[in-house]
């Protein structure tokens, strides 16, 4: 039995619901020697800024129980090199390319999206308003509803392509931020970005990261991600993309049942470059085993006590 795996995010139709998360899959072809990225529903490329960024001082990563902290600092080649050197590598791939962008100001987000929107190989945008590693205080646009609204407005006016806004969990009321993003024109939301975290070496009394705090990812944050997705799902009717500690098809199913239309696989790529395609095959097996012909029919089927 063939399973129809396709899902719709705004005007973007994905052939299957498994994407790779920004910052964990490079510019899309780095893992090509392990598998064909065309197998995936889509690739979210590494966050791009207007100017190239070298990234933060070392150490940038630390391991924590079932998780990792990172403080990479959005190291990237900048939008011009992204267009001339990175996007052409994705020509011919049969998968959606979602360009992830971040700016220093709301206007800069608009400039980035304007620069990229006309390019055929960019199928959609993910707006990173939630990286905890850029400002020293770990703050981000996505921690404030008004700032979120400003960014999304600037982006929305520059493109008709699907705009996905990536939310941070490091807020008191994620629904307020989510609502601001949708009201300003977001087609979909992806959540969560990393959880602000920290670890200390008890021998040296030094933080394990040079920037002291960083973003926690991996299995440790999956329950947080699910709860955030659930909160947003209860309040808003837009497509949601689940992110956070997805390591198995079972993990992904938890997000789909809770209401995610697609998932992004992140940290797993570092441990098993084939992890995202393993999850995809697991989802296919799940559907086949239960006679489910349309994957989208399982979305949001969480059973709650009435």
């Amino acid at each position: 039995m063939a399973v129809d795996l396709s899902v719709r995010i705004g005007s973007l139709v994905l052939k299957n619901p498994v994407l790779t998360a920004s910052g964990t899959f490079g510019y899309g072809t780095e893992y090509s020697e392990y598998f064909d990225p065309s197998l995936l529903g889509g690739i979210v490329t590494k966050t791009i800024t207007l100017e190239p960024r070298a990234g933060n001082p070392m150490p940038r990563i630390a391991e924590t129980p079932a998780g990792m902290l990172n403080s990479i600092g959005l190291a990237n080649v900048g939008v011009e090199k992204y267009i001339t050197e990175k996007l052409p590598l994705l020509e011919g791939l049969d998968t959606a390319v979602i360009a992830n962008v971040a700016g220093n100001t709301a206007e800069e987000y608009g400039v980035l999206v304007r620069r990229l929107s006309g390019l055929r190989r960019v199928d959609a945008f993910e707006i990173n308003i939630s990286c905890p590693n850029v400002r020293k205080d770990g703050l981000a646009f996505g921690m404030d509803a008004e700032a979120t609204r400003d960014v999304v407005r600037c982006v929305r006016s520059e493109t008709d392509k699907t705009v996905i806004v990536k939310l941070t969990p490091n807020v008191t009321d994620i629904v307020a931020i989510a609502r601001a993003a949708v009201e300003a024109g977001a087609d979909a939301l992806s959540l969560i970005n990393t959880v602000l975290g920290m670890a200390v070496d008890i021998e040296t009394r030094r933080p394990l990261l040079a920037r002291v705090t960083g973003g926690l990812s991996g299995p440790a944050i999956k329950p947080i991600a699910l709860a955030r997705l659930y909160q947003v799902r209860q309040s808003l009717d837009v497509p949601l993309i689940g992110i956070g500690g997805i390591m198995t098809a079972g993990d992904a199913l938890e997000f789909f049942f809770t209401g995610a239309t697609a998932v992004e696989v992140g940290t797993l790529n570092f441990i098993d470059p084939l992890g995202s395609v393993s999850i995809l095959s697991g989802l296919v097996r799940y559907c086949e085993g239960r006679g489910i012909s349309s994957f989208s029919s399982i979305i949001g089927t969480l059973v709650l006590e009435s």
């Binding site: 070392m58 150490p59 990563i61 391991e63 990172n70 990479i72 299995p219 570092f270 441990i271 470059p273």
Partner: protein, 264 residues
């Protein structure tokens, strides 16, 4: 050369000291492809805690038997679990990764320096240098005599060996950089000599300072915490003298020593 992800059976595992293990694995493709200075990324534990793979330098590669040897220090939960695995158990490896030492057609003497577990890549390097028929001088510093091992075959092959231990229990008391300092003082000429160094960053920094301005080309093999091991996560950056960051995993782990900014 394609990188492999493979589940590799353990051929043998032995304790060198109470903390240092030597692990031999059957993985013909990696054994055939590996070059000195390259590493394999080891899934030390099958669960998600510990989460990340650990990069281990290839310590030996036997193309005929299709095996590689790794050397590791037992530090935490992951390496303790790895030590508990017996023959027949399998370990998931990715590799070979990174760029090895550049070994050209030079016939010059090779000066190989290793600090602590820098012996992991250094032994493999010496094996290959000897295969190429190059004269080798090996300087090795460890904490104490019990961490010195496996030198017989190098002695038989005519390698000139200089040892140092922190506690003075074998060789010169002090570090391997002390050996280098004495060597540089006593050498009339550094012509026809090429340096290779593997070890922790403070040692590499000391070697960099000692050879600065001298006509001695040195390649350094860096150690760094890594997540992906393939250049994707940008976690294992090292600052270069140029001010740019390079990735230890994918741009290195071997760099010309003068290009690295050990202060950054």
């Amino acid at each position: 050369m394609k990188t492999r992800i493979a589940s590799c059976p353990i051929i043998s595992q032995e304790s060198i000291t109470d903390r240092i293990q030597r692990l031999v694995l059957h993985c013909p493709e990696i054994a055939g492809a590996a070059k000195p200075g390259q590493f394999v990324h080891v899934r030390v534990h099958p669960s998600w805690d510990p989460l990340l793979r650990r990069p281990f330098s290839v310590h030996a590669a036997d193309r005929k038997n299709g095996s590689i040897a790794l050397l590791y220090r037992v530090i935490g939960k992951g390496t303790a679990f790895l030590r508990s695995l017996g023959n027949g158990a399998s370990v998931n490896l990715m590799g070979p990764l990174g760029n090895g030492f550049r070994l050209d057609q030079s016939r010059s003497r090779a000066l190989v320096m290793a600090g602590g577990l820098g012996s992991a890549p250094a032994f493999f390097l010496i094996d290959r240098l000897l295969e190429y028929g190059r004269p080798v001088i090996f300087m090795w510093g460890t904490r104490s005599a019990e961490e010195i091992f496996g030198l017989d075959r190098f002695r038989v092959a005519g390698v000139e060996i200089h040892l140092a231990t922190d506690d003075g229990s074998l060789g010169r008391a002090g570090t391997v950089t002390g050996l280098l300092e004495a060597f540089l003082r006593e050498s009339k000429s550094l012509k026809n000599l090429e340096g290779f160094v593997c070890g922790p960053e403070p040692m590499l920094a000391a070697v960099q300072a000692l050879v600065a301005g001298k006509p001695l080309r040195v390649q350094a093999c860096l150690e760094e915490r890594m997540a992906c091991g393939t250049g994707v996560c940008q976690g294992c950056a090292v600052r270069m003298q140029s001010g740019l960051y390079r990735m230890v995993c994918s741009d290195g782990p071997v760099f010309p020593i003068e290009e690295v900014d050990f202060g950054g």
